[in-house]
């Protein structure tokens, strides 16, 4: 048997059920790995006592024959999810010591399914970033390195801590959130599987809001099957979130391995960017070939408004964020900086000290685009374009069942690269943002390595609430790719 940290979630589940390993052994192995790879800075808060207590309780249930779907499975939670009694920071100074008295619906579901809590993973501050360098708790290091180059690389963002933890075998899976690509891009950068489900599939209740109409929780795991197992437990209608969908949650795992025979796969021409790395294009073609070989049919499609997705996103998301982050004012909880003066001085001192540069930039952009005189030209126009982007996809679904694209325009970059200009950084999300604007499910599957030995991902998009097809296609790519490369920095 593999080392405990080398197991997939599905393998660990089987080993626990067969009593070949105890939940406690599994938890201890992962806690040791977290400690050993502390320099990845993947976690903001590790909860060893909680993990061991959870694991002990899980072992007792397994012994009684009362195991639940994730009994004894050690998971990490992105520090954007509020967790009762555990500091929940959003990687921001302004919430640096905030301990919520409530549990997010998604994490509560995981604990109710028997999962073991290892701790809270690092992220870009308030989930704003594509490199995990905006965290107030320091950047996360990608477990992967370029061949012959010892420089630290970014894990992607904003769910960089979750992706790095999964890739480095510090946990069997992790929760993440995706507003413009924050699950899929770090998954692609770390050779892991990350799915952003349909908007409304997972409750947003108890997740620190970035951009409410785009935010969606999802899992990062090492296999498509593991992601399917986790997503099922994270999903479901929640009356506490008005945008949560009251639709049945299928057995996503059952979709994995159903094959793609007869599925119609769309390849959108607008995703072929000028100056895109040839190896990205090659990988895409490879993916097309794999799916064709597996029995799918390939169709050229057009999503004509794709080029407006990124600018639209960078209006809608900051607009909502500027309003969502107004509550961090130093009055009721979180950081408070008092330097005398009046209420406005309290706001300025607290928010100036509490928010990092990227968060401040987005608050300013968002405030600007909603301001009198600019609202129509920016926010309203962006909403109209968003509707057009949604319509593009609606059109596409008349002729195809899923869409295949690259997940990112490049592999992971070094810390410090792409940071001279925020717009260059924003370009990371170019392939992932449309799914958020349209509310559609999208998955990133590790599909190959670039010339420097770094993982690259392919993205599969599907119809709203048709994650099953997305999983089927992703599983076919995973099987064909046989991706078995390992990151240099890892446990086991």
């Amino acid at each position: 048997m593999n080392a405990p940290t080398g197991l997939t979630l599905a393998e660990a589940r089987a080993a626990l059920a067969a009593k070949r390993i105890s939940a406690r052994e599994l938890a201890e192995a992962h806690l040791a790995a977290i400690e050993k790879l502390n320099n990845l800075n993947a976690f903001i808060t590790v909860t060893p006592e909680r993990a061991l207590a959870d694991a002990t309780a899980a072992d007792a249930r397994i012994a009684r024959g009362e195991a639940r779907p994730l009994e004894g499975i050690p998971l990490a939670i992105k520090d954007l999810f509020c967790t009762t009694g555990i500091r929940s920071t959003a990687a921001s100074r302004i919430l640096g010591t905030f301990i919520p008295p409530y549990e997010s619906t998604v994490s509560a579901r995981l604990w109710a399914a028997g999962a073991v809590c290892l701790g809270k993973t690092n992220l870009d501050e308030f989930a704003m970033g594509s490199s995990n360098t905006t965290s107030a708790f320091g950047n996360v290091v990608n477990p992967w390195r370029r061949r012959g180059d010892n420089r630290d690389l970014v894990p992607g963002g904003s769910s960089g801590g979750s992706a790095a933890a999964v890739a480095a075998r510090l946990c069997l899976g992790a929760t993440a959130t995706d507003t413009g690509g924050s699950i899929r891009q770090p998954a692609a950068f770390t050779g892991t599987v990350g799915i952003k489900p349909t908007y409304g599939r997972c409750s947003r209740w108890g997740i620190v809001a970035f951009a409410s109409s785009l935010d969606q929780a999802g899992p990062i795991a090492r296999t498509v099957r593991d992601a399917a197992i986790l997503l099922r437990e994270m999903s479901g209608h929640d009356p506490k979130d008005s945008t949560s969908a009251d639709v049945p949650v299928p057995d996503f795992e059952a979709a994995v391995g159903q094959g793609v025979k007869g599925l119609r796969i769309g390849v959108p021409k607008e995703y072929r960017l000028d100056g895109m790395a040839p190896e990205i294009e090659a990988l895409w073609q490879q993916g097309i070939a794999w799916l064709k070989d597996a029995g799918a049919t390939i169709h050229d499609i057009s999503l004509p408004h794709t080029r407006y997705a990124l600018p639209t996103y960078y209006i809608v998301a900051p607009a909502e964020a500027s309003s969502n982050l107004a509550r961090y004012d130093g009055v009721r909880y979180g950081l408070r900086v008092e330097e005398g003066g009046d209420l406005d001085d309290l706001y300025e001192a607290t928010r100036g000290a509490g928010f990092g540069a990227e968060v401040r930039r987005r608050i300013l952009i968002g405030t600007y685009v909603l301001s009198a005189g600019y609202y129509d030209a920016y926010y309203l126009k962006a909403q109209k374009v968003r509707a057009l982007i949604q319509r593009d996809f609606d059109e596409a679904w008349r002729s195809v069942d899923a869409i295949l694209t690259p997940a990112t325009p490049s592999s992971a970059f070094a810390i410090g690269e792409k940071q001279d200009d925020p717009v260059t950084m924003y370009l990371n999300d170019v392939f992932t943002v449309p799914a958020n604007l349209a509310g559609l499910p999208g998955i990133s599957v590790p599909s190959g390595l670039d010339a420097s030995g770094l993982p690259l991902g392919l993205q599969v998009l599907g119809r709203a609430f048709d994650e099953e097809t997305v999983f089927r296609v992703a599983a076919a790519i995973e099987a064909a790719a046989g991706f078995d490369a390992l990151p240099q920095l890892r446990a086991a």
Binding site: A90, Y102, S104, S242, S323, A326, V331, L343, L370
Partner: protein, 483 residues
């Protein structure tokens, strides 16, 4: 006749529209389950949603929506089956989220109207522009500490209906009548308790002045006026201020002002108190509010009879004057009381008793109709005793006072005090004989043609019988004896 204010250079007309904020009667807040009761200890009715904790989300309270629909229906207004909540963004310490959830572009209720009743008995129709749902903010207390402000979030998130009128109001009296009528309708509907002292009903007053016949001039908004009297005073004061500005060659600037009731003047708000760019945008945490027409129809079917309809029915069915009907329907409880007294009895007599003796007794005892010392059923039984000649109307007044004091049943009082009317003609004849004998001079005058003295004899006989003589029989006996 048009109401005008006389300036130095001639008459000016007032143009006024009101924005009334009415607190919705509901157990829970608009978007959270926290309680809404008035007077609780500070910050004891606050949920994590109300305090805008990270990750908390609003969920619309169905009852608040129902109350807004009922109100819209009660104002004969269009109900918008599709409406939307927007965020109104501004920073203040008692606004935890940094935005108020309101309905800016797409309110739940559209155009409607209110018929107001004026003192001279006439009515006027005032247009309603819209009604929308929004959250209240918390309360800032600046007088509890020398350097700090205290915040009470009990009110934060409580549902308000903002009811906006057209600029149809032309005098302070009309504004007062508008609020009074609106308040009455809201109380009938049970959608707002209308309690202005507790802040359940507050008004923002938009005022401008113009020469008769002119187009509108620039208006000012006087914010947060919390009594009908102050609204009327604020309009007059603001109108006079604007007239002075125009007449001295100046120009009224559109601005937000506050009314100082002590000085009877309005003053501009400090710029920090407003001057916001609210950056409205649709709240992405909430779906648009889509109403099932069947539900709206159901709410409509469940509406109570409203004051105007009730007053018309009182006039029609009970033969009351317009004035009496209006007085009796002022409060739902009074109308109910009256109807249970009037049912099966002389409705005019019932109205006189309710508006006369009962109102006087309520005034005197400081009680309301709901906890009247004399329940409607008892007053009804008292009227029955008059109707079947057990007691006279005069004795009834005496019995009524006893009922107010003791709460006893009228029949029991009549028996205990021996107030039953005397119909024994022998006893009456005897009393008549005594009175005539004692007033022989008056009898002579009467017989010499001074007919008016008949009333005097009636009074004397009744007095002799301690008021208990049956008036008809006393009359008869007197006529017989004097003929």
């Amino acid at each position: 006749m048009t109401y005008t204010l006389e300036g130095r250079t001639g008459p000016w007309e007032i143009v006024c529209g009101l924005e009334v904020h009415a607190q919705v009667v509901s157990k829970a807040k608009l978007f959270s389950g926290a309680a809404t009761a008035f007077g609780a200890a500070p910050n004891t009715q606050v949920s994590f949603v109300d305090a805008a904790f990270p990750g908390m989300l609003p969920v619309i309270n169905r009852e608040c929506v129902a109350q807004a629909i009922r109100t819209g229906l009660g104002l004969n207004a269009e109900i918008n089956l599709w409406s939307r909540f927007d965020r109104k963004n501004y920073f203040y310490a008692d606004l935890p989220a940094g935005y108020q959830i309101s309905q800016y572009q797409h309110p739940i209720v559209g155009k409607g109207e209110i018929v107001i009743d004026l003192a001279d008995g006439s009515t006027r129709t005032i247009g309603i522009t819209r009604l929308h749902l929004e959250q209240d903010a918390g309360k800032s207390l600046h007088d509890q500490h020398p350097t700090k402000s205290f915040i009470d979030l009990n009110r934060a998130g409580v549902a308000l209906m903002e009811i906006v009128s057209e600029p149809d109001i032309r005098s302070p009296e009309e504004a007062g009548a508008y609020i009074a009528k609106l308040r009455q309708i809201l109380r009938y509907l049970g959608t707002c308790d209308g309690n202005m002292e507790e802040g359940s009903l507050r008004a923002d007053v938009n005022v401008s002045v113009r020469r008769p016949g002119e187009m509108y001039r620039t208006r000012c908004e006087v914010k947060n006026v919390n009594s009908i009297r102050f609204v009327m005073q604020a309009i007059e004061a603001e109108a006079r201020r604007q007239i002075e500005v125009w007449e001295s060659g100046g120009e009224v600037q559109q601005e937000t002002r506050l009314f100082d009731p002590n000085r009877g003047l309005t003053r501009p708000m400090r710029s920090k108190e407003h001057a916001h760019d609210y950056r409205y945008f649709p709240d992405p945490d909430l779906l648009p509010l889509e109403l099932d027409p069947a539900w709206v129809a159901e709410l409509k079917a469940g509406l109570p009879e409203l004051p105007d309809a009730k007053a018309a029915r009182f006039q029609r069915d009970y033969g009351l004057s317009a004035y009496d009907a209006r007085v009796l329907v002022a409060e739902q409880a009074t109308a109910d009381y009256y109807e249970s007294v009037a049912k099966g009895r002389d409705p005019k007599q019932a109205a006189n008793w309710v508006m006369g003796d009962l109102f006087a007794a309520l005034n005197r005892t400081g009680r309301g109709i709901a906890d009247s010392p004399v329940p409607a059923a008892s007053l009804g039984r008292l009227l029955d005793l008059i109707a079947d000649d057990t007691i006279s109307g005069r004795i009834a007044k005496q019995v009524f006072e006893e009922m107010v004091d003791t709460g006893a049943d009228p029949a029991a009082i009549v028996e205990a005090k021996g107030l039953r009317q005397v119909k024994d003609t022998g006893a009456i004849d005897e009393a008549v004989a005594r009175v005539l004998a004692a007033n022989a001079d008056k009898v002579a005058e009467y017989r010499s043609g001074k007919d008016k003295l008949f009333g005097f004899f009636v009074g004397q006989v009744m007095k002799a019988m301690a008021g208990k003589g049956n008036p008809a029989l006393v009359n008869e006996a007197l006529k017989r004896a004097l003929s």
